[in-house]
């Protein structure tokens, strides 16, 4: 039994780390600009464009309303195009990233909206360009909120990655389901759950710390 745990857990943990790490990174790279776009193009934003805002908002909502397991299956052609396969850890990264981008985008949007309008006004009065308002005012001022949103995203991705076991992605969630549920191997399941709990705690702790350090209010 312990042999099982020691041989299976590290590999599953590594698969989870890969899936969550890569998709989180992609979410960060695309989700932050998405959040900025949603705020900047809104009515009364720094570069209002109501049509673009509505279209992007609708796409974001549509993506977020599809259950992850359906999203995963629905975008298999796209997954093949990007990952050159539709099963396994690499293939799971594509739907995970696609689900995470709008998720983080909305959280970033909320964080940016918390920045007082008066600061944007002050920057405009100083002759800031719209891009400067984003890079010098909005993003730095919203940084604690963005970090908190990213933390939530990473933790959510750990949950989603378990579902990705359905397309043979492996990982901790998959391990727990296969051994605990299908083979009634309680020890492996408990160990898996314990690792997941510790993992989530660590990420939340690190995220909170970083957010607090960035807060000067």
């Amino acid at each position: 039994m312990w042999n099982d745990i020691f041989s299976l857990l590290p590999e599953a943990l590594w698969e989870t780390a890969q899936m969550v790490g890569v998709s989180s990174l992609v979410a960060l790279i695309a989700g932050v600009p998405l959040g900025v776009l949603l705020v900047a193009t809104d009515r009364g934003g720094i570069t209002p464009n109501v049509v673009l805002n509505r279209v992007v908002g609708a796409v974001v909502n549509a993506t977020r309303s599809v259950p992850f397991i359906i999203l995963m299956v629905a975008i298999i052609p796209l997954t093949r195009l990007i990952a050159h396969t539709s099963i396994g850890t690499a293939a799971a990264m594509v739907p995970l990233a696609i689900a995470a981008i709008p998720f983080l985008g909305r959280l970033v949007e909320a964080a940016l909206r918390e920045v007082p309008r008066s600061l944007i006004e002050a920057a405009r009065a100083m002759g800031a360009t719209p891009l400067q308002i984003v890079t010098k005012v909005l993003l730095p001022e919203a940084r604690p909120g963005i970090v908190a949103g990213f933390t939530i995203t990473v933790i959510s991705l750990i949950g989603y990655s378990a579902v990705a076991g359905a397309i043979g992605a492996g990982g901790l969630g998959d391990l727990g389901v296969r051994y605990g549920y299908e083979r009634f191997d309680t020890a492996v399941m408990i160990a898996t759950v314990a690792v997941l709990i510790v993992l989530v705690q660590c990420i939340q702790f690190a995220g909170d710390r970083l957010a607090r350090r960035l807060t000067h209010r």
Partner: protein
Amino acid sequence: MIELAGLRKTYRGPDGGVEALRGVDLTVERGEVFGVIGRSGAGKSTLLRCVNLLERPTAGRVVVDGVDLTALPPAALRDVRRGIGMIFQHFALLSSRTVRDNVALPLELAGRSKAEIADAVDPMLEFVGLTSMRDRFPAQLSGGQAQRVGIARALASRPSVLLCDEATSALDPETTQSILALLREVNRTLGVTIVLITHEMGVIKNVADRVAVIDAGRIVEEGAVRDVFLHPRAPITRTFVGEPTAEELSAMLGAPLGDAPSARGNVVWRLGFAESSARDSLVTTLIRRFPLELNIVSGTIERVGGEPLGTLVVELTADPSVRDDARSYLESVGVRVDILGYVERHLQPAS
């Protein structure tokens, strides 16, 4: 140097919109401190925000140093804005930046080099007396300190104009005085033209050279602060300078104050004069020189731009010809006389 012509601003809204400015014409001269005073909702902030086009007027022109800002493309407008500093009621400092980095912001936005920024920021912090606070964050500052940072930031790019939106309204009286003193210094030693808006006459008295009174989107009175103080014309200005209203006067007089002159009644004058010491001798001289009876209704002495200015409301019992003589006499010695109204009765001499 700043010329506002035919300025109108209508905020569109579901219920048809709000006319915040209804045709404002103003000229601010280079090097002066120009104050705009008005009640809440009169359009002060809108007016000020039109000067650097944070708010785009619905109609009219905004000319700064001969350039009509309303006609400028965005990039040129940004350049002009770098030459116009602005400070705010609630300071609007970036919470994520230290004091030093807040002051550096306008220079960063203008694309200056690190060395240039370092050279410009330290003297600015010294000017506002915050050198020791340079590494603090805004949350660690008092209101007065935060506004000093706001002033340093606004001046970092060496603008020729400083716009102040209720810069002292969030501060206690003592701190207000120190910030106003700093603004005077900005004006005198750096030669910066200042436009400030406020709802407090105290601010105007303290720093402004000229004042405009705004009411419901219109300028109702304008002039040198001293003149407006001694001789307020619009009813709203009178309340701003602390003059009793017609109702209050009627209550003080114990009889209704009317507009119609009458031969039998008494006249109520407001006397405005420059020296506090003149007040006592003024009354004595009047009574000695002219066959009249005089009752002091109210009086104040205020420092306006450092100069003590007095106003005295008096009720006068005298023949019309005596009134005229007394009035000519007062005006000949530099006292401004305004008729506030008439009361239908004979003054009972004090027993």
